[in-house]
Amino acid sequence: GCPAQVVDHYENPRNVGSLDRNAKNVGTGLVGAPACGDVMKLQVEVDENGKIVDARFKTFGCGSAIASSSLATEWVKGKTVDEALKIKNTDIAKELCLPPVKLHCSMLAEDAIKAALADYKLKQDPKKEDSEKK
């Protein structure tokens, strides 16, 4: 059921750790939420076919933020980059039965996925870097 799954992700988060941020096929997303001071790092390793073969995260913040990022790393594995970009915070929140007050935690996870994939894409096409960076 929902409650059991939620507790599981808090107590036994999956994929905690780091990948080599300097590797060309690794994308790193680092995001923060100012109001609560939570910080989340999510990394993906993508193979030559554009499929995400590994993912890791490190989150310092509330249990909901940790659970959201743990779930996010599970979900991106096996997806292509474009498929992973479709993951929405509402899906994460629903899966974890997050209360409304913790919805921003699932948004943080969605933003971390997007940031990691954006970083990966940038590394594949350095020419884009100058025109796309702010």
């Binding site: 939420a33 310092f60 921003h104």
Partner: protein
């Protein structure tokens, strides 16, 4: 207190904490003066002083006391003081992900968190504490300047950074107290 019958009135609906503590609405606060005001207010309003009065007055005194505590704590600490000043100006820290965030800053926060989370790092805790305090002092100076310039957007950015360090400070404190 009601001027006519001298009975205690309830606190107003949306009290201005600066006004309550007789401080100018400014980031610069005279802490000694704040403390004196706190003590004198508590002396006058503390529930213990209303033991002989009506239940209504006792209730009001409790409400006042809670409010005075809240005002004192809010204005005493730079982070809460700054956030309250922003709130009075209709500004809040973003609940959502900060897309403007300085990635170098976030990396620094990550690194300190990782160091704190390491097992058996008791010998490093003092080092980490010194680092955190130094950063907080620096940020407090920056936010003071921002408020003096009336640059509320800059103040908001700095206060967000201070929030991350406040969390680190809490985590450090938890680590130091033996469980």
């Amino acid at each position: 207190f009601c001027p006519a019958c001298r009975s205690l009135q309830p606190p107003g609906p949306r009290p201005d904490l600066f006004c309550l503590m007789a401080c100018d609405r400014s980031f610069r606060v005279d802490v000694q003066q704040l403390r004196r005001r706190f003590r004198s207010l508590q002396r006058a309003l503390h529930p213990d002083r209303f033991g002989q009065r009506t239940p209504t007055e006792r209730l009001y005194s409790e409400q006042h006391s809670v409010l005075v505590n809240k005002a004192y704590q809010t204005l005493l600490h730079p982070l809460s003081r700054g956030l309250y000043l922003l709130e009075l100006n209709g500004i809040q820290l973003a609940q959502e992900t900060d897309s403007d965030a300085d990635s170098e800053f976030l990396m620094e926060i990550m690194e300190i968190n990782e160091k704190l989370a390491e097992p058996n790092n008791e010998c490093h805790l003092e080092e980490i504490e010194t680092l955190i305090k130094a950063k907080q002092e620096q940020l407090t100076k920056e936010v003071t300047t921002a408020f003096e310039r009336d640059d509320l957007q800059e103040a908001k950015k700095v206060l967000a950074k201070m929030k991350y360090f406040a969390n680190l400070e809490d985590k450090l404190r938890n680590k130091k107290t033996p469980s």
